[in-house]
């Protein structure tokens, strides 16, 4: 992996570095010769408006080929554009990688960015980083598409009219004088959670200049228990850090710690590490009490279904069972008692090696009981650690206060920084109306979103990949964010903007960041700075602090008749900020496989009572506010609990994200944002949801197998009997093993595959007719009753069968078998008979029923991986085991005349998987990881009876201790 140490100088317009050639292209874009070339290469370009055209030209790297599929026509002559001066360290066509970070809710997601001729095309976790260890989640994988979002704000506007940054500077100058008069009285800043040292420093400076100004914090994720509940449980502001890798037993009260979010990768890695310590039994036990099914619940060996409002009572009951003083076992049902007994026993035997976690719906009571149990078990400091809050700023006001101040007329200037309050504020606050009442408002954001549209000034913000900035990861490790591409719109970074507010005229992009770290690094700055840019992070996480749980005994509020309404952030578009990212919209939600919309999740028997079916519209009423959305019957959901998913119903997200789903923020109460009481009833209207999997029961088949702890034996290598003579295989025989016990269904692999292999987005309508294009689907099965099912995730890529039925069916040799055992798909030979797909027993092949390619003028073209052909209409496609990576590795090895090493070829899905559930490698090498797993006791072959001899095989799931061979 080549890290560019000199990259930090790129944007200061030095002669060399990846991004340099970008500006080369920018200069090009007005050159008639180049335009002629572009018109020849991309005829669509002629139809653009001048501005669109200019952006487009900037986007199209000289070496960027729009890979279409043509037959054998007369081979054409096309233009070739050399550099004017080629950077010494640039090799044309060879990707370059930079260590940097993207930002989610203010926290750094440390990444390695892969760029081709200056175009970032793929982000993966930074392997050296303590948090990700090279693994990633769907948000990290998809961040690159945000860069090429065609609906990004591209130039400053004032009341919708385009203006220049000079105008902005002028205007801020005037404002500063005004603020200066009364020390910033009436000046307010609205920000999301911030970990960036530079930004915090700048804000402090700003507050020093204008002492009466005030900062308000808003962000749906910022209200998560890690901030607010910890206060209640420990009496001081601390962040909780789970050391899952050390846990033998985990008990969760509706805390979906394996689910999507900031901590997912870290928690998943930790959990998997302890879970798979032994070959013959699971390394830890997971008890989950939950109201709404979640990834964590699916992984739990013992899962208790209880309404959200029951959580505090249950936590208290467990505390009681473990002898925590003051805890009384309230009235709990038999099933609950049984679950608590087993959990208590397990915890009792794992003092200091267990962990009790409580989710947001449990409220303060839940959090406090969990904290006290952990103290009682001596887990605090062992499996549960504390740090001072990673995210700032300190001493801020809330959105509620801001709105009331505005209503009270105390605010005349409002600066909104990367925060979409107009959309994501609880509906009852009427934040949008409040915003409009402010005299002067400035909005800095990457999109002209709901908030930006309401503000007087909308100022386009640079994407993390084009910014100089810094941020901290969830463990407090700081990353210096370096640009991997020069901005191709007229944008500024946050720090440049704050610097303007601080009075600078034209601040350099990296000045503020350098200033911060100069102070930190002191005189060893230059070396440390280079080191930090090279590594992608600054050594040193936040130090641990001690914390004792408050000793009060809180009793849960008595349950009443009303329905529990649980608010969840959407698993793929999160709080709504990703609504315009096609990749994430088309990712199936882990447990429902719904795409392009959110749903109102209700329990099966509640659905029977109303009655409703999937897609029927239901109205959820909380207080005097109500919202209507499509119902989804969620097997295993608590009978009296309804789940609403935030992040949809956006109106100014862009061409992709507008008008999808319903807006749950409308009914979210500002005082209890995660659990409310309300009612639900059927209203007119039904819609067809775009789901990728229609049936979820295993119908008595054993697609997903389960093994009992301690009951597995090493498997002898079985020899396959066949009438056919065996084909000779070359020195590598690629294969894949997927551990179903490790798969948490997080979709990171699917997102990574989409990014790596130019998998097209087809849209809701096509998904509805069953034409989604994902090469890798995560099959989701239920076993057992619909009220209390056990749910499984099973990633299904191409099996690369040795005796592949699909190959036999192709009349033109478009799909054949390689000596290395790959089931090859040759797009440019395919004529689209679809016989291969008809014959495929696993139905892993995908077909371009229409031309699904992005329009030639779309910036998303630039996100394409040039090493993978972009498929045209009428051809079949499927998982290739990332053959482009295999071949690249071969070339490298062959040039050094040496065999490939184990782990030298890593597929995109494998690379992304946070739990190492996917292992790829050479099955011929007996010492390779994949070969070892194929000998594992839990190893099995999907649909083995068909004799297709797949190269992709599975490891069975562990059953919980003592659960016998119950469900399966």
């Amino acid at each position: 992996m080549t890290r560019n140490v000199r990259a930090h100088r790129n944007q200061a317009a030095p002669p060399e570095g990846g991004p340099r050639q970008w500006s080369g292209i920018e200069e090009l874009s007005d050159n008639p010769a180049f335009q002629a070339f572009v018109d020849a290469e991309y005829p669509a370009a002629q139809t653009f408006s001048p501005t669109a055209r200019r952006e487009f030209l900037k986007l199209m790297g000289a070496s960027f080929a729009l890979a279409g599929l043509t037959g054998c026509e007369k081979s054409p002559f096309v233009a070739g554009l050399p550099y004017v001066d080629q950077p010494d360290d640039v090799t044309i066509g060879v990707p370059r990688r930079y260590a940097t970070a993207v930002v989610l809710d203010g926290y750094a997601q440390p990444v390695i960015a892969t760029t081709y001729s200056g175009r970032p095309t793929k982000l993966d976790g930074n392997p050296d980083h303590p948090v990700t260890g090279g693994r990633s989640d769907i948000f990290m994988q998809s961040a690159v598409l945000g860069l090429y979002d065609p609906d990004r704000a591209q130039a400053p506007t004032r009341r919708g009219e385009p203006v220049s940054w000079q105008d902005v500077v002028a205007a801020t100058g005037v404002l500063r004088e005004e603020w200066g008069k009364d020390g910033g009285e009436g000046l307010r800043l609205l920000v999301g959670p911030i970990t960036s040292p530079t930004l915090l420093r700048q804000l402090d400076a700003l507050l020093k200049q204008f002492p009466k100004a005030r900062v308000h914090l808003h962000g749906p994720a910022a209200q998560s228990p890690q901030q607010s509940l910890a206060m209640a449980a420990y009496g001081k502001r601390v962040d909780l850090h789970y050391a899952l890798e050390q846990c033998d037993v985990i008990v969760s009260f509706d805390d979906d710690f394996l689910g999507p979010g900031l901590d997912q990768v870290r928690n998943a890695r930790g959990w998997a590490a302890s879970r798979h310590r032994f070959a013959d039994r699971p390394g830890n036990r997971l008890f989950m009490a939950e109201s709404v099914p979640s990834a964590t619940g699916a992984m739990a060996g013992s899962r208790l279904i209880a309404d959200a409002s029951r959580m505090p009572a249950l936590a208290e009951a467990l505390a009681n069972a473990l002898g925590v003083s003051g805890a009384v076992a309230g009235d709990i049902t038999g099933r609950e008692r049984d679950w608590i007994k087993r959990a208590a026993d397990a915890c009792g035997n794992a003092r200091g090696k267990s962990l009790i976690v409580a989710g947001s719906v449990g409220g303060q009571a839940g959090a406090i009981w969990a904290a006290r149990i952990n103290d009682a078990l001596g887990n605090a400091g062992q499996t549960l650690r504390f740090t001072a809050p990673i995210a700032g700023p300190v001493g801020t006001g809330t959105l509620v206060e801001l709105v009331s101040d505005i209503s009270a007329g105390k605010v005349h200037s409002l600066v909104v920084i990367d925060c979409n309050a107009a959309y994501s504020a609880p509906g009852e606050l009427k934040a949008a109306e409040a915003l409009q009442r402010v005299r002067t408002s400035l909005h800095l954001g990457s999109q002209r979103d709901e908030t930006g549209a309401l503000c007087e000034w909308q100022l386009p913000m640079a994407h993390a990949l084009e910014s100089w900035s810094d941020a901290r990861a969830v463990d407090g490790t700081a990353t210096i964010i370096q640009p991997v591409i020069a901005p191709f719109y007229d944008v500024r970074t946050i720090h440049q903007f704050i610097a303007m507010l601080l009075g600078e005229i034209d601040p350099a992009p990296d000045a503020a960041v350098r200033q911060t770290w100069q102070a930190t690094f002191g005189d060893t700055f230059s070396t440390q700075w280079k080191q930090a840019l090279h590594d992608g992070f600054v050594q040193g996480a936040a130090g641990f602090v001690d914390a004792r749980a408050v000793s009060e005994a809180v009793t849960a509020p008595p349950a009443d008749g009303a329905v529990d309404i649980v608010f969840r952030l959407d698993p793929t578009v999160w709080d709504g900020q990703f609504a315009n990212v096609g990749w994430l919209q088309e990712l199936p939600k882990p447990l429902t496989t719904v795409t392009w919309s959110n749903v109102v999740a209700i329990a099966p028997d509640l659905a029977k009572r109303i009655p409703v079916a999937n897609g029927d519209h239901v109205e959820v009423r909380i207080g005097d506010r109500s919202v209507t959305g499509p119902a989804w019957i969620m097997p295993g959901q608590a009978g009296n609990t309804v789940a609403l998913y935030l992040g949809y119903g956006r109106t100014r997200a862009g061409r992709v994200g507008d008008g999808l789903g319903y807006d749950a923020y409308q009914v979210q109460p500002s005082d209890r944002p995660w659990l409310a009481k309300g009612s639900l009833h059927r209203v007119d209207g039904t819609e067809t949801l775009a789901v990728t999997q229609l049936h979820h029961r295993m119908e008595g088949f054993d697609f997903v197998r389960e093994a009992n702890p301690g009951e597995v034996a090493k498997q002898p290598a079985s020899e396959h009997a066949s009438f056919y003579p065996q084909w000779s295989s070359s020195e590598n025989a690629w294969g894949m093993v997927i551990d179903l016990d490790a798969c948490i269904g997080c979709n990171a692999c699917v997102a990574a595959c989409t990014a790596e292999n130019n998998v097209p987005i087809v849209g809701a309508e096509q998904v509805k007719v069953g034409r989604e294009m994902h090469w890798l689907r995560i099959a989701r099965y239920y076993a057992g009753s619909i009220e209390e099912p056990r749910s499984h995730f099973q990633p299904v890529p191409c099996m690369h069968c040795e005796d592949a039925p699909c190959e036999m069916g192709c009349p033109v040799h478009a799909t054949t078998h390689s000596p290395e055992g790959l089931n090859q798909m040759v797009y440019n030979r395919c004529i689209g008979t679809r016989t291969c797909s008809s014959y495929c027993p696993y139905k892993v092949r995908r077909f371009n029923f229409f031309d699904y390619r992005a329009p030639a003028d779309s910036p998303t073209q630039a996100a394409h991986n040039p090493d993978v052909t972009v498929r045209s209409r009428g051809v079949m496609e499927k998982c290739t085991y990332c053959v482009q990576r295999i071949e690249a590795a071969h070339v490298t090895a062959d040039k050094e005349s040496r065999p490939l090493r184990d782990g030298e070829v890593v597929t995109a899905c494998q690379q992304a998987c946070p739990t190492k559930a996917i292992v790829f490698g050479d099955t011929k090498d007996p010492n390779s990881e994949v070969a070892r797993l194929k000998r594992d006791g839990r190893h099995y072959v999907l649909l083995e009876e068909l004799g297709t001899r797949p190269r992709t095989t599975y490891l069975a799931r562990w059953r919980d201790y003592g659960s016998g061979s119950g469900q399966g």
Binding site: Y724, P725, E802, D803, A804, P805, E807, M808, H817, R949
Partner: protein
């Protein structure tokens, strides 16, 4: 000899009449005979001593060449660019059987059609007998016996008389 006619055409109104006449002609020693009928008449060939045709032979040859072509083609294509298709054998005779069978039939059928037309000297749009005024009835319900002029015993008057005696409803001379 330009005046020499093609032959003498005798018209009969039933197949039986034609057959009888043909027998007599043979008995009388005529050997250059031909008959024109609306549908095939059983026994006529024997009387006219028509040699057995070799269409069937051509058919068999066609069949074998078809099978050979198909097999060779499929073998060659797999030899020329050997590719592992689903682990199946490179020369999968069982799979090649279908195309082989089809081509066997195809070649054989075409060969026989061509052979039939070739032997019959068809297409032949202009032929002397068409000049005979009543010949169009040969495709309706009349049966014609023709004694060709290259027959050594042929002479216009004598042959005409003979046909009339043989019971021909009408006798006409076919111009060359």
């Amino acid at each position: 000899m330009a005046e020499r006619s093609y032959g003498m055409l005798g018209e009969f109104d039933s197949p039986e009449g034609l057959l009888a006449a043909a027998k007599q002609a043979r008995a009388a020693g005529y050997c250059e005979l031909d008959a024109f009928t609306p549908f095939p008449i059983e026994g006529l060939a024997r009387i006219l001593r028509i040699p057995c045709p070799w269409i069937s032979l051509v058919g068999i040859i066609g069949a074998f060449s078809g099978a050979g072509t198909a097999l060779l083609m499929q073998m060659f294509t797999n030899y020329d660019y050997p590719l592992n298709v689903g682990g199946r054998p490179l020369y999968a005779l069982s799979a090649f059987a279908v195309v082989t069978f089809e081509l066997t039939i195809l070649f054989s059928a075409l060969a026989m059609l061509v052979a039939m037309l070739w032997q019959n000297g068809l297409p032949r749009l202009n032929y002397p007998v068409f000049a005979a005024p009543r010949f169009h009835l040969a495709s309706k319900d009349r049966f014609f016996l023709c004694i060709k002029s290259q027959d050594p015993m042929f002479d216009d008057r004598g042959t005409a008389a003979f046909l009339t005696d043989a019971g021909a409803a009408s006798v006409e001379r076919v111009p060359p």
